[in-house]
Amino acid sequence: MEHVAVNPWVALAYLIAGVCFILALRGLSSPTTSQRGNRFGMIGMGIAVVTTLVTHVPVTTTLIEGYDYAALIARIDYVAALEIVAAIAIGAVIGVTTARRIAMTAMPQLVAAFHSLVGLAAVLVAAAAFLNPVAFGIARILVDPLSGTPLAYILPVSRIEMGLGVAIGAITFSGSVIAFLKLNGNMGGAPIMLPGRHVINLGVLAAILLLVAYFTVDQSPWVFWTITILSFAIGFLLIIPIGGADMPVVVSMLNSYSGWAAAAMGFTLHNSAMIITGALVGSSGAILSYIMCRAMNRSFISVIAGGFGSAPDAGAGGAAKVDRPWKRGSAEDAAFLMSQAEQVIIVPGYGMAVAQAQHVLREMADKLKEHGVRVKYAIHPVAGRMPGHMNVLLAEANVPYDEVFELEDINSEFAQTDVAFVIGANDVTNPAAKTDKTSPIYGMPVLDVEKAKTVLFVKRSMGGVGYAGVDNDVFYMDNTMMLLADAKKMVEEIVKSLD
């Protein structure tokens, strides 16, 4: 394949950038090395951007022969160069301001918003490459034998890459916008079900694939733009039927898509940094989606098919909940029980994030430690709205990460624990997942809080059920005490009582 002459140093620079990105992810294997990893990421990005800037200086005329730098400098288009620098600066200001101001509890929607930007950028780059293929080195100039006008003939391989790139980018964009609106509360978290949606979705997907194939023989603009529009539509259609609690999977999946979009554009541009990054991000998102699905014991297909928790008859996990007796406790009771305990395990969930209770929770843990109590935190993989959501919030509240344990590392300890303190979590503690084959959450790995001597369950009211719409038998156990209040207020009162 003929291509613009590539300076080997340029290719090497992109390769180094790609290696830096690998090291960035590698650093995340432990909190101690993670900051260094992040710096590798920044260095890699710096190398990639600077390399592109110096090898693609805007010039007033299109064709540059070889590396005649004197001639190049004479033709630099300073206005265009300034526009590029301004564009980077605008983005930098917006990005840094947002990153500084955002509340940690809003991290899921921020990540969704960032994904949508990658998706849209991919669409714009693909569109720019379609409009100006010669500049991207993916076209040959052919002269139309009839009219004599020159025509940029885009190479068929590049058309496939471009078609797939724009499709994945557009799906990432519109899907992430919907995910953002749901996570940010601008749109109800409940699944929105269109009649016949599976048929519509499969039809649109098939149409996109057929058009990408057709694009190789006909590079008319209508083909390209129809692919784009259909892909925007399918991203929207795919995400609206998915409920709020399945968002960890959705956010991971969109993360993966943004990577594949970058990889597809990397193929178009023959750029190793983009391909390596795309593959890394693509597999990262895919693995996270897999981990999330496994933690809910649901198949990826069933999450994507959507509509979980919407069936009104779903999950009669136990008898009708209105009639069953349960015990209500006060903050003083809770404070007394916990201060007498040897070990307390705190189980946080999305409700803690909503109530912003992580800081006061850490205060409570500090007070308990003063009473000589051992405090640990147990995190279910799908607690919260994105992978690792609870860990970040606890870290924000200065909880040392070596007190925070994953499900499989701590689950055996509940049996030797005096108090399990569940705050804002529900389904991830439901024993029906282990025993009741008719329950919609059957088979999902859960935290065995019911094995603790006492379970303290902080919940807003007895009425609400978890996202799966399943009643939780833990509420009605003899050793359970329900603490009905806003999570933050309840923990504040417990802290007062501990003094």
Partner: protein, 99 residues
């Protein structure tokens, strides 16, 4: 580079990604998403090429807009990742207690 060479890089990078990501500790999954988000904005390379190229005004402006979006992501993504990572602390030993 020919297509097969590029495909080789891609396939090998997928394997590297698979093993590297499995080694990421679950506690850092949110920073992982933030940093992958930042690095996937390497797509800015394509945006810069488009905005530097002469020959298509439409392509140039699309490129510039993509540069803005991608750099929001790059700067925002790395900044928010580093803000999160700075919060992860080990248990303070009594001897080195702060304040």
């Amino acid at each position: 580079m020919d297509f097969i060479a590029i495909l080789s890089i891609f396939v090998l990078a997928c394997f590297v990604g698979y093993y590297v990501v499995w080694s990421v500790t679950p506690a850092l999954h949110t920073p992982l998403m933030a940093v992958t988000n930042a690095i996937s904005s390497v797509i800015i390379v394509g945006a810069l090429i488009a905005s530097a190229a002469a020959g298509s005004t439409g392509g140039k402006w699309l490129g510039l807009l993509a540069v803005v979006l991608a750099s929001v992501n790059i700067f925002g993504g790395f900044a928010v990742t580093s803000r999160m990572l700075a919060m992860y602390k080990k248990k303070e030993r009594p001897a080195v207690a702060k304040h």
